[in-house]
Every structure is written in structure tokens, then in C-alpha cells.
């Protein structure tokens, strides 16, 4: 059984075991290591990607479910995107291991709620653990990307 899907807009065909985690398929079959594994049980969000535009923890998605799906990973986010730029400008990354997942969660949040409030941000990112930043720089980055903060 093979699964056909798109990853970052490119058609891909996975021949992995269908019960295999999307996380492993991305990293090992397709050579996309930007998606990180922090816990393997959907608690930390480091492996977050978009599946058909919706945020998902790729450690909990069996690839067998993805026939026809559109997957977006951190490799699909350009450096000049407002989210990446805001994360850089606001100092929202430290050790960086949670950052790709945090960026994906931000992209999903802003897509659903472009004018999000600080409360929305705190709820929207609550599935993405960061141990370095204490979240403050991240809130600032998301709000800046949302246009709520003046660009300086």
C-alpha cells in the first residue's frame, strides 16, 4: 500500500508502513528533519504540522490516513513570511527545538484568527511546550505577526 499526498505542495508517495507516524515519514522517508520529536505522545507540539490546513501533532498521525491530504511542514514556511520574521525580530527562539512546531501553531492560529488577542495566543499555543523562553517573546512575536503590534 502506498499513500499519495502533497507535502509543501509537492506530490509525494509514501511506501512506509501505514501505521507509521507522519513524523517519521517526514523525517526519514522524505528527508525533512525540521519537524522535531519531543515526546512522542502529543504533549509537546514540537512535531506540529498542518494537515489539510489544520494543526496536527505528526507523532499521532498514522500515514495511512493521509491519502490525498495536503501536509505543510516547517520546510514549507519561507524566511520572509511574517511569522518567521516576527519570531526573529522578537527573539522568540532560544534553543530552537520547539520553534518549528511553535511556528506551525502560529501559522494555524493566524489563519483561523488573523486579529487574535493575547488571550487567543495563549490558548492557541497551549499545546506547544517551550522550556526556554517563558513564552513572553513568543506572544510578542505572534501579536506582531498578527499586526497588533506596530512594526518597528
Amino acid at each position: 500500500m502506498a499513500v499519495e499526498m502533497t507535502i509543501n505542495g509537492l506530490p509525494c508517495r509514501s511506501t512506509a508502513d501505514p501505521a507509521c507516524r507522519l513524523l517519521d515519514v517526514l523525517r526519514e522517508e522524505f528527508g525533512l528533519p525540521g519537524t522535531k520529536e519531543g515526546c512522542g505522545e502529543g504533549e509537546c507540539g514540537a512535531c506540529a504540522v498542518l494537515v489539510d490546513g489544520q494543526l496536527a501533532n505528526s507523532c499521532l498521525v498514522p500515514v495511512g490516513q493521509l491519502e490525498g491530504a495536503a501536509v505543510t511542514t516547517i520546510e514549507g514556511i519561507p524566511a520572509n513570511s511574517p511569522v518567521a520574521q516576527a519570531f526573529l525580530a522578537c527573539g522568540a527562539t532560544q534553543c530552537g527545538i520547539c520553534t518549528p512546531g511553535m511556528v506551525m501553531a502560529t501559522v494555524a492560529l493566524l489563519q483561523d484568527n488573523p486579529r487574535c488577542t493575547r488571550e487567543d495566543v495563549r490558548r492557541g499555543l497551549s499545546g506547544n511546550l517551550c522550556r526556554c523562553t517563558g513564552y513572553a517573546r513568543i506572544y510578542e512575536a505572534v501579536l506582531q505577526a498578527a499586526g497588533d503590534l506596530p512594526h518597528d
Binding site: 526519514e28 528527508g31 504533549e43 527573539g91 534553543c95 513564552y135
Partner: protein, 756 residues
Amino acid sequence: MRSGERDFSRNPLRLDGMDKILGRTPYLDDLHLRDPDLLFAATVRTTLPGGVLEGIDFGGGTDWSDMTVVTARDIPGTNAVRLLENDQPVLVEREFRHAGEAAVLLAHPDRRRLRKALLQVRLAERPAGVPVFTIEAALQGQAETIPGNTYTEYRLEKSGPRQETGHPDTVIAVEVETPSQEQLYIEPQGMVARLAPDGVVRVEGSMQCPYYVLDALVQCLGLPASRIQVVQTATGGGFGGKEDFPSVIACHAALLALRAGGRPVRLVLDRAEDLRVTPKRHPSRSRVRLAATPEGRLQSVAFDFDLDGGAYRTLSPVVLSRGVIHAPGPYRCPDVRVTGRAVFTSHPPFGAFRGFGAPQSIFAMEVAMDRLASRLEMDPAEFRRKNLLCPGDTGPTGDIAGEDTHARKALDVALERSGYARRRTEHEAWNRAGGPTRRGIGLATFCHGAGFTGNGETHLASRVTLAATAEGKVELLVSNTEIGQGAATTLVQVAAEALGIPMDLVVFGPVDTARVPNSGPTVASRTCMVVGKLLEKAARRFLEQLPPAGGKGNAPGRPDFQEACRKLHALGGAGEVTETYAAPPGPAWDEKTFQGRAYASYAWAAYVAEVEVDLVTFETRILHFTAVQEIGHAVNPQIALGQIEGGIVQGIGWALLENVVWNGSGVMANDRLATYIIPTSADIDGIDVILLEEGQGAGPRGAKGIGELPMDGPAPAIANAVRHALGVDVDRLPLTPEYLHARLAEQQEVHSWLSK
């Protein structure tokens, strides 16, 4: 150099930022994903809390012919993890002291086969002795594994003239306990080892201290340092957790690689294994007795400070020493006696975690200060203000507080900024109104010494090198690691500023022991302050060495500078500048009496927490948090803010949520992220951080180390706020709803008993 070419803006963007944001930074787990030679590795561990390994049964259900297997007998060098003492084996040979000790290592190219084999191996373990799991049990000494079950005992004693008032002192005694805490770096620990064709054992991985790893490999493999190369890969958080344990994993991976004919071996812990076996914050017990005059002058501090060191010595003595020195707090007091002990228990060894013993003792002291203030019927802020060290005072270690002693300023700014007095009144009114919640405000004043304790930096004798590159740039060669704290940016900033060149002409070299000198470990808030200062000095000498090139005067323009660098590079090693640490003038440190200058600089801080406790569920919510710290100079204010905020949230976690639960074998039972609870964004709102910069620290442009500082203050500030809210004394962390519920119930029982 023309001013237009200068790039000294105070918040240059993190140099590693965009690669991390876009997931392009390779961590260990991202490397070798498609290397056909790669072997995966796993560890068979003891299950009893101490005993004797009598045999290993490899089981018949699997094909062992192509499995790489390593046991203690395969260790070519010394079977001991190199640290302070050789008491911890790399692999269990016979006796072992805790559950989770490595006994057998396995490696295979197929992960499924590896896992199957792992489940097949049976260790024949015979229990020996009675395990001890608490400080109390260890000190009662029913089962002594080491003499007195005590690794180290330290005493700090200071006596001076007390203030005679003609009235008896007000005295309080407090006993508090703090739990362990897991660092919870989001990237688990791991290493890849191989034997390179040139006969060098190359180990790469996630770590804070490459030279610790190198020294451990030298001892375990019995090879000269010249045949070992340690390379740090991008490290997804450390917080102390990757100070000593990477040495263990590196030895294991290297032993397997040698056994497998030099093939690369990847040993990465999964989350549960990482939680169960890697070192965490030391649990502590503090017994504090304070006395003050009726006017609120501290007269004596008597402090018994005990740490649970776990089953091997590892770093416990150094953790203990920092805890002892920080115990008396930033206060003026004529009579100070601190006794510290690190004791043996049957838990896996405890280790470094941000703050390194200081958060434990500071918590006890600050809780005690609030209780004494209550006894004196004084406001806790006023009581502290009266006793905070000022320049010229004699501190607890007998050292004279320098001009950079800004404890009072930090407090005053924090009181002002938080609206402390007004908020205190408002919360009391709120509580009198009798709604479903109670509110409180609490304070902690503290200081944290940066760099190695006492003469540690002198013994370390760190070296840094600046080298000109063929591209006409300057390369920083240091063994200090970027672990998220921003070192790869701030050190470049410091060097660029000292060299008078833009940052893009400075390169942070790869942290590879084959290239970098030993500038010491990345611990103890020392990187920016101590190593940064060395780089500043090295830069001056580098400029002197720079051959003349085109430009006039001593400030060459960019093209000239680059040309000069290229010329210098052509000289090879002769063109490099290496600077070695030299002790600054000042009183030496006496390790016997704990008197003298303990740290090159202290950073001073005052934190204010406001909390709300729900009386239906006993859940505590942070309403507001104000953190003021005098840090000398912020090399990069944005990075400094991020450090402080992150440390505070770890402190909030320790105060309210994080609880290591032990199973019957003394191993962490809540070994999943679903059960070990750290703060999410929903738990954390705003934290108001104020950096005071007085520029008198020992680091570049007067910077002081700040990495550990923010871990010290949140727990006591929150505990004091909860006490203010509920009117009950708290005596342990974390302040979970379950604990507060039990504490209130106890208190009500006491009240109703008293009123009978």
C-alpha cells in the same frame, strides 16, 4: 573605522535565529538519518534500588549473532564516569546503587530488532542492603553505603558584634522541603560515536561541556586525548541537565562504536528513559532559625541545609557549596552559621539544574524572612529593606560588599513598579469581602553569584582563542556551547565590540575539541561574564598583533581590517591569540571556613508575585509577576530578557506544578510529559521584567552572569504570596491544590481544636 560602519546596536538579532525558526538547524536526531552504516543503540538497566548483578541472561528468543553487545568487561580504560570522584561506574560490573543503572549496551541497524533484543535481556539482580529514599532515612543511617551516608559536609560561619538592644530577640524556626525538578529540555539527550579512519574516536551530541565529555572518554576508553574528538551539535536546551550526563552517554556510544568495528552508533534516549535516569535538581531540607531585634535587625541566621545527592557523588559537593553560600541571602547579619550536607540516597544521582543549590536554600531563607516579619508585625518589604546589604557591609562570607551591591535599589524599584503597598491593601480588602478566591502578594529579595565558586575559575584557568580566517574574519574558539541562552550571539557581540568591527566579521567557531581550547564548561552563569571578559581581553591583544594594512591610525576600516586578518591567517598558528584566565585581585576564598570572596560578581534582584487562590479547587493562579534585577550590563537586552523570563517560568513551574513522583524503586514514576507537568502558555501571562544596569560587574562592560539568577526568586515570592492570601504557612513545594487543600484542612483542625 568610520562610525557608519559600526554595528553596536544593542539588540542585534540572534545569529542562530532564522535557522532555528525554519527548522534548518541540525540537532543530533536530525543527523545520520540516512547513513546506511548507522547502528541504533539501547541500554539495559538495573531495576532494583541497589544490589549485586550476578549474571546476565541474553535469552534465546533472538538472533544475537549480528547484535553489538557491550558489558563492563569490554571497557578498555577505567570503569568510572570521570567527574569529582570515580565512584560511579560507566557500566555495572557487580555492585550497583540504584535502579536504572546501565549494565548492558546493545546496538543494531534495525530498531525493531534492537527493541526486541532489549526486552530479551534479563539481569540477575540480587538485592543488597536497605534502600534509602529520603534525607531523613539517610541521616538516621540504618544502612550506610558511604560513611555516615554523607558525601560532603560544609560549614559557613561568620560571627561579629551583635546589636545590643536590652530586649530579647524575636526568634522563629522554620523547616521546609523542596522537591526534585526535571530540567525538561525539549530535546532528549543523545550522542553519536564512531571511529574515524585516522584512529580518532569522534563523539558528537547534545551537551553543555565538551571537555567534561572528552575527559570522561579519555578515562573510560584508556586513550590519549589526541585520539578523541568531541563535537557539540545544536543543543535543544540544557539548564544544567546536559552538564554531566552527556559524559555517560558518550562513553556508552563510544564503547559500542569500538565494539562494532568503528561503525557510527547512535544512542538517543527516548523521553521516558531520559526522565527516569538523567540527573535532576537535588531535593532539599532546610531548617532555619532566625533571630532579630524587636526593631527588626537580623541578629542571627542558623541554617541546616541538606541535599539529597542520590546514589553517587557526581556534582553534589559543588551544588551544596553554592547552596550553602547563598543560604543566608543578601542580608546584613552579625552571626551566620550554615551547615550543609549532601547525603547518599538510592535515587539516581541528582545533578545540575539552573541555580545549582541556590534556589533550594534561598527558598527556605525567604520563607523564613516572611515568617519573622509577621512575628515582628512588620511588613515583609520593610523588614527586608532594613536588612539588605549595602556597599561596605560585611557579607555572610566575611567579604565586604562592593559598590555594585544594589540590593536596595532592586527592592525599591520592584516595590514601586509593582505598586506593592497599594496592591497589598487591595488584596487584603478583597479577601475581607469573602468571595470565592483569596489574593496575596509576596516578595523575595536575593542575589546570585556568577561564575565558579571560590577559586574555581582560577583552577579552571580557562583559555579562549581568536584566530584570523582566510576570509578575513575573526573566529572565536571557545568550548562554551550555545544551548539556547544566546552565547553564539552575545560572545560574537562582545568580541566584535572589543575589536571595533561589525558582527559579521566575527565567526563563532564550531565547538569541537579538536579545534577549541578549554574555556571551561557552560554552567554557573559564567559564559558571558567570564568567557566574554576573556574574549574582550583577547581582542585587545589581537588588535595589537594585527599587521598594519593600508589604513591609518589604530582604527582600520573594514577592507583594511579584513586584509590584515588575511595576512595574519597566513602566519598560521602564530597568528592566533590565546588568553588565559587570571584571578582578579581581592581576598582569596578559604574552602575550609567558607570565608572570603565567593564570586567575582553578584547580581541583585527583587521579585514580586501576586496570586489568586480559588477556594473551590485550591488552584493558584499568578495574577502578576514583577522581576527587577541589577545585572551590571545587558550585552543584548532582548536575549537577557528572554533568559530572565524563561528562568522565571521554570521557577513558577517549580513553585506550583512540577512534582517528581518516585516509584517504589526510587525512580521517577511520572516519566511522561502527560504526567510531569510544566507550564503551558495558558498558565503564563505577563511577566514584568526590569533590568537595572549599573555596569560594575566582572564581565564585559560590567556585565554580570544572569543565567541562573531568575530561578531563585519565583518560588519564595509565590509561596509568600500564597501565605499572604490564605494566612497559612507553607513548608514545601510545589504548592499544588492537593497540598494547599491538606494544609488548610490541617490548619482548620488546629483552629477548631484551639477554640474548644
